[in-house]
Symmetry: C2
């Protein structure tokens, strides 16, 4: 009988569920849009339904070790409840793990999605050969997970790793977290679009149309074709990532900084500027040590990470 873990990655836009083997291989998967109501009941029920179908689909009889759910939220380490899910506020204060566990009859555990991605990249991805690393996810926001001495470091309350909320401009753009000048305001998909509009007056020759709403993808495509405005936008993003990472390099002396998430597709347009800032700003020895690398597991990082958590928990329980 094969041992598998169920894993889910709940986002503001999509919900994905997978069955993952002990070796970290995704055996089967399904994906739907996040329920439009974004209500706790609908989210919980949809996760249970997707998981039931996955289990039913599998012909071979399997032992389900547990269910790991990555959520875009802070999680209370004592109670397992969601403290705050900025993009799914109806989940705040609710016990999603208990609800799913009850519905499916398997144990369930939650994890912050950026932490889950870091666990996944650590287990099977870009950071697996490094004992101390930072995994940063560039998407709608900027998430992060810290690995120290081979283990994901969550801090006393489980809130560690929020690299997106280091201050890189003390009098900078207001952030949804309540602060201002956070890295997230300079290195997320939303930030790219805002910076585009900020810089546009200086780049009249841009190929990007000014009439319609633009996306970070539009800016990326223009940048690849050599558009100077788009290149300046990504360079500014790289500058601020480099400012934050130089501080991390000086404070943590890590072996690797792993960058994932959808915005990481613009790698060639922003990574050289990160390298330049780290090299110009961090101490020589840790700056030469640290490797700046792309995440390897793509959208599967959090699913693989949650499976790892499930199997690790089972190992500890034995």
């Amino acid at each position: 009988m094969k041992r598998i873990a169920l894993a889910a990655d709940l986002g503001g836009t999509n919900l994905r569920v997978a069955a993952v083997s002990e070796s970290g291989e995704i055996i089967s998967r399904s994906s739907v849009a996040t329920p439009p109501s974004k209500s706790f009941d609908d989210v919980s029920r949809t996760i249970i339904e997707l998981a039931r179908e996955l289990i039913k689909d599998d012909g071979e009889r399997e032992s389900i070790e547990g269910f790991g759910i990555a959520v875009p939220a802070l999680i209370d380490q004592m109670t397992g409840k969601i403290i705050k899910a900025p993009n799914l506020p109806d989940l705040d204060g609710n016990d999603l793990a208990a609800s799913v566990a009850l519905g499916l009859g398997v144990s369930a555990v939650l994890e912050n999605d950026a932490t889950a991605a870091a666990i996944g990249e650590n287990w099977k991805g870009a950071s697996k050969d490094f004992s101390t690393s930072i995994c940063v996810t560039l998407g709608t926001g900027v998430g992060g997970g810290l690995t120290i001495d081979g283990r994901v470091f969550k801090g006393i309350d489980g809130t560690a790793g929020e690299v997106g909320h280091m201050v890189v401009e003390p009098f900078g753009h207001p952030c949804s977290c309540g602060s201002n000048g956070c890295l997230e305001q300079y290195a997320s998909a939303q930030a790219l679009v805002r910076i585009f509009y900020e810089l546009r007056p200086d780049y009249l020759g841009t190929m990007i149309g000014s009439e319609t709403a633009i996306s970070s993808g539009d800016i990326y495509e223009a940048g690849v074709k050599g558009d100077e405005l788009a290149i300046a936008v990504f360079k500014r993003m790289g500058f601020y990532l480099g400012v934050a990472f130089a501080g991390i390099v000086n404070v943590l002396n890590p072996e690797a900084i792993v960058i994932g998430g959808g915005v990481a597709n613009g790698w060639d347009l922003f990574a050289p500027e990160i390298e330049r800032q780290i090299s110009a700003r961090a101490f020589q020895q840790p700056a030469e040590r640290v490797k700046l690398i792309r995440a390897k597991l793509g959208d599967d990082a959090a699913l693989v990470g949650m499976a790892s958590s499930v199997f690790a928990f089972e190992r500890k329980a034995i």
Copy 2:
């Protein structure tokens, strides 16, 4: 026969040597000005001489377990040699531990002085009840040491903890490290004096004389007496410390931030602004968790820390 550790704290201005008991008590001590030549030979010889006198002074026969030397430098973790000592450049590339060990006939070990202070505060001082904490030393520069899960975290190359070289103003004042806008440029004794001159044009009513060279101590004394310029200088320092600490709180979710060093004497003038920035900028849960506290061991932190390292090494060797 009592077991003791020898400990030294080498600074750009003073050199202090002590004999420390297994319980962390300083049994005897002596202090001299750092040799004016600042040459490797003079520094090494002076340390040996001070230590010899200390040992001779003690009437009771003692077992010397080793010699721990705190230095204002980056240390190569493989070779034990000094990589870079910005204020004592003749030490760069030299093996101070070997030289002292040879001269005294006891084993010797080096440690960065801010790391040593963190170890000391951890063992017997302000952070001893916390498993994850940051110890920041505000002096001529800004040093730092990280404790994670109860142990000082030095990073893969031993350079971790350089909180003073997080970037807090990306286009800010040039730093001696080669970057610009480092925390050290806003929160050290030197920085206070520079900020004083920057702000003076806006505070014509200041009680601080403008003819003579002023020191950070002068600014502190004026601040205690209610001088608005001095209060504004310390508030700016607190602002930037808070900007850096808010990032650390979000990334590491530590239990405590411990502040020591000579400039920490201005505590009442800058600490409230740190608290304000952490509270305004960091996530609520880790911001409410973290305690901002003064170091307890004063100038002895590094000496006590080096003694701890010596005794810990002995324990491991057994």
